[in-house]
Amino acid sequence: MSEYVIETEKGKWEIVCGLEIHCQIISKSKIFSGAPAEFGDDANENVSFVDAAMPGMLPTLNEECVHQAIKTGLGLNAVINKYSVFSRKNYFYADSPQGYQITQFEHPIVGEGKITVDLSDGSSKDIRIERLHIEQDAAKSIHDLNPTKSYIDFNRCGVGLMEIVTKPDFRSPEEVGAFLRKLRSILRYLGTCDGNMDEGSMRCDASISVRPLGSTELRQRAEVKNVNSVKFAMQAIDSEAHRQVEIYESGGNILQQTCRFDPTTGGTKFLRFKEFSDDYRYFPEPDLPPLILSDELINKIKDELVELPDAKKSRFVNQLGLTPYDAAVICENKEVADFFETAAHGRDAKKVANWLMGDFFAMLKKKNLEIAQSPVSAENLGKLVDLITHDVISGKIAKDVFEIMAETSENPEKIVEEKGLKQVTDTSAIEAIIDSVIASNPDNVASYRAGKVNLLGWFVGQVIKRSQGKANPALVNKLLKEKL
């Protein structure tokens, strides 16, 4: 268990934190209308009469969004509720043309679940999920185009959201970070949300309170809204917790309130007290009947579920012999895991993993590329490992070959062939080089024979150099010892 304690002269404190994460559902159309749920189009391009809340318009539930929510629920190891109900959350604001948001209140589509997160000290922890419900997103207000006017883009209005609520199980910013990364990974595996926090397709609100270490009380909490990166979430929690400790220790009290994280200061900014907040007057949405799911549907979605990161990770550890750390890194991203599996197919998976996490990742980073754009294909990376394993090239030559692959996308076998980089394993050819090295360095030969055995490395280097790197180092070693 990672220990996160705020320690001051006056005492030790721990944090209690829970998260609400809004995840935009990947779907062709919006959750209650037929308008496209696409991004990047011109403002107000994708707006139906339903989205604009024209008189007499009615919502109709998009089944694709329901399937995505069920899939996500299963991915969170959660209970799928066969009976759920839509409710209206009433409030007036320009981003809400209906004057209410259609959401789920008392009866969400997904109930309790859990996500296991891996922490840096090698431990893992279960974070409990309280619920997941589906709802419609609001329009986007744009305040910075005109000094006196605000503009509204309704393209986002009505896009499906999954709101995932956790139990207050977090005790450190690190746990929050690990959870968000894990959740994002699961959502991306499932293809239910693209998880891009900086683009707002995954948005996180955190409820934070502190208490004296060892106590079990739950104190008044502050809610930090719309933190748009994992790093910011961790910073926000850390700084908000310290702020609260300072207030308690100076004799103050925390009132239930809403804050906003300010990335420029790394601190939280007070927005409003909760006690004055709106009364949303929830009531069941009369335009939509309760959502009843069949076992058949749930089982069908379950059967079609992809292998999730945890399952994949343990398979990589147990069947392919990866270390848990390597497996976790590779499995965080499904594309990486798929790439790895293709590259490692029928080969020494550990060697492939080393290449993947070493030179390959470094190359992607240097070139600023996603794995899908990699110039080196999974097949070619696998072939490169084969060439090393079968002693066709040395590890050192392999690095040169890899660099050529990264530039040309060529097959490594072809590169080795064309550039004549095949390792020399012909004893007589190597012996000839050794003889010439011995002949041209009589002083070192004498020193070696006088007992300076560590000169062997120098001789090996000379021989390999004269072979232009192609001589098999093990063979050179063996023959040199004999000759010297």
């Binding site: 009469f49 009615l58 007057r281």
Partner: protein
């Protein structure tokens, strides 16, 4: 020519089919009648020229035998139905000059069957009211008025008055707590509110979504069947519309009712019930008995809670449904120096007193701390009322009651206007039906001693409009009511 306007829809259709009359003749006859009868204030928008142009197309269709089932029939449309390209205001200042770019499903169904629209009909603002006095365009005058102008009932006052005064062949209307049946009774015409879910609510400006249902107001029972055949149907754009098969309602007209059990609820006969109405109720029962039906006493024990439950549930939905009228995207806008002031000014000016009252009641009953005591309790009452009907329908096939406890009263009646409860009490026989989602029809039974029409109500099992049509036809024949 003016006797063309006295034709029922069925009568006009048969003359159109034999080419005895043409659609153009029919529209011209109604156009003349409309010109002569502006005093009733039944229409708020006229599109007679458009109807004439379309009548010419209809004429062609009759000539080449491609006429559809309502080809060339001139209708009036309640201003609650969105009609593409025709101003639709729900008779509210807040929707001033709103011209929908879409057509409601119900009116589209009628257009697809060849019907023509003469214009949009007056109604209570957003269908809230029982006397058509809350309309921004002023009250409708009951065509039966003698010296003093009388109310036409509400909220579909324009629909009922227009049909009674023969300003259109039939009309669309809607019913949330009695808005088809009460004005039908007041104007001596026939209207049916079908089972909740029979007609799509798509494109009908929402009042209370869980109660609203469209239906026709016609000159007689036969026409109601013809109109409802066209209006009803499953619509994927309304998730609460029913997929149940729709029988040909006309096929039940004339079927005998021997052995049919007609229930008479004792709770609908309180002490002090208008003796004239009570006596017509008895004679209606006798008519059905004479046709071979059996009269059974039934009990609907929770009737007295229906009105209070209705006046919690309907306003709750109103408070949310009307939130979209904010001055931002369509309709009236009163500028403010910030967003809140824009909302406040627009809504203060745009809504009338009754609408504001219901928004306030609805907001109150949904508020934190009051929700359980009001909204939740009202929903429980609603369940009990539905159970009452389920139990009653174990003993009978159809229920007979008066439509309204009062006859049409004077426009500006101080008793009604000073205390809205007195107005709400007029719905006492109709609201239970909406709470239970059942079908019910009002048809004229006779005249009061003041010479004003009184109506009887037939309530059926859910999705059993058929029995209502069967029974109503015999009651209509027996009552032998003479239309204006």
């Amino acid at each position: 020519m003016s006797d063309l306007t006295s034709l029922t829809v069925a009568g006009a259709l048969s003359k159109l089919k034999t080419r005895e009359i043409s659609p153009v003749d029919l529209v011209q006859a109604y156009a003349k009648k409309l010109e002569e009868n502006k005093k009733y204030n039944a229409f708020v928008t006229l599109v007679v020229d458009d109807a004439l142009a379309k009548a010419k197309d209809a004429e062609q269709k009759y000539l080449n035998n491609t006429n559809r089932r309502l080809e060339g029939i001139p209708l009036g449309v309640k201003d609650l139905f969105c009609t593409k390209g025709i101003r639709t205001t729900a008779c509210s200042h807040i929707l001033d000059n709103f011209v929908p770019p879409y057509e409601s499903t119900v009116t589209q169904n009628l257009l697809d069957d060849g019907a023509l629209f003469l214009g949009k009909l007056n109604m209570d603002e957003f269908a809230m009211g029982g006397s058509n006095e809350t309309s921004y365009f002023g009250p409708v005058v009951n065509p039966w008025s003698k010296d003093v102008p009388l109310v036409a009932g509400g909220s579909s006052g324009g629909s009922a008055a227009a049909v009674a005064a023969e300003l259109c062949a039939a009309a669309t209307a809607s019913d949330t707590g009695g808005s088809i049946r009460e004005p039908s009774a007041f104007c001596g015409v026939t209207g049916i509110k079908p089972t909740y879910g029979r007609c799509s609510r798509y494109g009908i400006i929402a009042f209370a979504s869980s109660l609203d249902q469209a239906g026709p107001i016609c000159k007689d029972v036969t026409d109601c069947a013809l109109l409802l055949n066209s209006m009803a149907g499953y619509d994927p754009k309304d998730s609460t519309s029913s997929k149940r098969d729709i029988p040909d309602f006309s096929s039940f007209i004339g079927q005998d009712i021997k052995g049919l059990k007609v229930g008479v609820p004792l709770e609908y006969r309180p002490d002090g019930l208008n003796p004239e109405i009570a006596s017509y109720w008895d004679s209606a029962a006798q008519i059905l008995k004479d046709c071979g039906a059996e009269i059974v006493n039934i009990s609907l024990p929770h009737t007295k809670y229906a009105l209070p439950a209705y006046y919690v549930i309907a306003p709750a939905e109103v408070s949310s449904n009307l939130a979209r009228y904010d001055g931002v995207r369509y309709g009236l806008r009163i500028e403010g120096n910030n967003l809140d002031n824009l909302y406040i000014s627009t809504r203060s000016e745009g809504f009338g007193t009754e609408v504001k009252r219901r928004i306030l009641i609805g907001t109150y009953v949904l508020s934190a701390g009051y929700y359980d005591a009001y909204y939740l309790k009202a929903q429980k009452v609603r369940r009990l009322i539905k159970n009452d009907f389920d139990n009653a329908f174990q003993k009978c096939d159809v229920i007979l009651t008066p439509t309204s406890p009062v006859e049409p009263f004077a426009i500006g009646d101080t008793k009604m206007l000073e205390n809205p409860i007195n107005m709400y009490l007029n719905d006492i026989f109709t609201v239970s039906v909406n709470l239970a989602g059942l079908p019910a029809m009002s048809l004229p039974i006779g005249l009061s001693h003041n010479g004003l029409p009184l109506g009887m109500q037939l309530i059926g099992r859910a999705f059993d409009e058929a029995t209502i049509f069967k029974t109503a036809y015999h009651l209509e024949r027996g009552a032998n009511f003479v239309r204006m």
